[in-house]
């Protein structure tokens, strides 16, 4: 088991009377991608802010890279990269200048801005002002900025929300490359499909509390039902659907009956999505 680089111990935060995060505890291992899922207002961003030293927890503590974030925020921030949910770039500066600025702030020597721009698909546009970029290009630049210090942990807050497929795919590729490099990725999203594709484990947060945390596969096994849908033709020529629940004691007998007693036209399997599971656990959807 890899060493835990993020440890949340009963993290709590409230805005006035509203409890945004309520005694949340979890850990993330080095090199792992954790998908942090939940609807808007569930407490995702507040948790990220406490983990990255932007907010002081009202209760509990956050240990990142062995340091108590509340006490050693700057030491932690030197080793992490943060990509925010809302675009916050210097729009009047060029893309390259934005990256160079942050490289200098992190004290990165021999910073290769062109290589980083190329990694996120912005080669050739580095000298243009950011205000001329499309939303997808700005988001890719945001991800690039989070990478300037080769962070050990990458915090990505809704990095692909509202992006065109090409930009979203470029960012997903970067996330997987970072994991391959050995970085840990804390991915906040409410895109369940993306989380399923990328995450080693996912955590569901709802109303400030973690309601489930495991690998997508185990969550599906635990909460979801795998189904087999078959389209069969009746003697009078009508088409009807038949459903067989998989992984049951009598599944093989049900399958045998289906194929021996009916004329199967099409057949395909279906497994529960993370969204189905989230709805099953919380009783509400992600939006």
């Amino acid at each position: 088991m890899a060493q835990a680089v993020i440890i949340a111990e009963e993290l709590t935060y409230h805005y006035g009377d509203l409890t945004a995060v309520n005694q949340v505890s979890f850990s993330v291992a080095e090199g792992e991608i954790l998908g942090f899922l939940g609807p808007n207002g569930a407490g995702k961003s507040t948790t990220v802010k406490m983990l990255t030293g932007q907010l002081q927890p009202k209760g509990g503590r956050a240990i990142v890279l062995g340091q108590d974030v509340a006490r050693r925020a700057k030491r932690v921030q030197a080793e992490i990269g943060v990509c925010f949910e809302i675009t916050n770039l210097y729009e009047q500066m060029s893309g390259a200048d934005n990256l160079k600025l942050f490289a200098r702030l992190f004290g990165v020597r021999d910073f290769d801005v062109d290589a980083l721009l190329k990694r996120v698909g912005l080669d050739g546009r580095g000298q243009d002002r950011v205000e001329t970029y499309s939303k997808g290009m700005k988001q890719r630049l945001m991800v690039a900025r989070a990478l300037v210090n080769r962070p050990r942990i990458l915090f990505l807050d809704e990095p692909t929300e509202g992006l065109d497929p090409a930009s979203a795919q470029a960012i997903r590729s970067v996330i997987l490359e970072e994991r391959a490099r050995g970085a840990t990725v804390f991915l906040t999203t409410h895109d369940m499909v993306e989380a399923d594709k990328l995450s080693d484990r996912v955590a569901f947060i709802d109303r400030g509390e973690i309601v489930a945390l495991d690998t997508p596969r185990k969550l599906k096994q635990q909460y979801g039902k795998r189904l087999l849908h078959a389209e069969v033709e009746l003697p009078d020529g009508r088409l009807v659907l038949r459903q067989v629940v998989l992984d049951q004691v009598d599944t093989s007998q049900a399958m045998a009956r289906l194929f021996s007693e009916e004329r199967v036209i099409t057949i395909h399997s279906e497994e529960a999505t993370l969204e189905d599971i989230f709805i099953q656990i919380t009783g509400r959807g992600l939006t």
Binding site: Q77, N88, L89, Y90, F102, L105
Partner: protein
Amino acid sequence: MINGRLIRTLVVKDVTLIFKNRFFAFITVFGLVAYVAIYFLLPRSLNDTLALGLYAPAVPDVLRERLSGDGLDLTLVDSDAALQAGVLAGDYPVGIALPADMLAQVQAGAKPQAQLYLTAELPPELKEAYTVLLEEIAFLVSGQVLTIEATETILGPDLAGRQIAPRDRMLPLLAVIVLLMETLALASLISSEIEGRTLQALLVTPMRVQDLFVSKGLVGVGLAFGQAMLILIITGGLSRAPVVLAAALLLGALLTTGIGFMLASVARDMMSVMAWGVVTLIVLIIPALMVLLPGLATTWIRLIPSYYLVDTVHRALNFGAGWGAVWQNLLVLLATAVAFFWLGMAALRRKFQ
């Protein structure tokens, strides 16, 4: 511990961004040119001569000699109509017509009627001065002498013959405007960084909040102080008491930077920075108007922090005042500058959180 590398990086970034903002880049460059131009277009000396037209058919020679002294530009005309025409033509702002039989009337114990012609634009205080002058002429014509002997004693610097030129009276006002305009640029930059959330991105780097304040302070003070000094150098204002002036402007720049921090903490964008900034500017230039129009001076003006800047700059620029004359001003200015800078930082820190 302040990190020099981070400070340098942030200062370069801020100066770059200020000059990428076309409005403030224009204001900075245009302002510098315009203020210098205004200075050199204003008169370099003060004309304090009273011009007067006089129609006096029976003016004795002795009166002419007495009236043609320093400070009075006398024009004698041949008729009452010519006198009125001269006033209307602007040859002299006031015309005095004395009756032809004035002496005879005086000798007979009557009260002769003198006519004073003046235009509607004449300021009331000048009208008063000309009325007094008429009375003086009446005394001279009647051959009487005032029974009071007046002796002049000049308190403070004697400005006889070297009155402060309008352009030099204007310099303290220009200095305050320059300081505040550069501060508005800084306030606008900070405000846009807060609203654009770029500060949030900076604050998750090794940069500390104190690095941010130091860099913003350096940019604000540096730009304001630099431009104010540049104007004084170009206008030759630094030729007298340069160290006192530099100290006053430096403290003034610190004061206005603190005010800039406060503006940034209440404003949401460049327009609201400008709106708040204009209100602030009006308050801060009131003491400078006092230098332009000395009659406005009142005690409450000392409650405005810029008074101590303006008064010091005025006295150092125009009278060559040294440390001994202005140290109390500088002390108050230092205290208010530090207080405003600290309050500005506190307001901004609250906004960051």
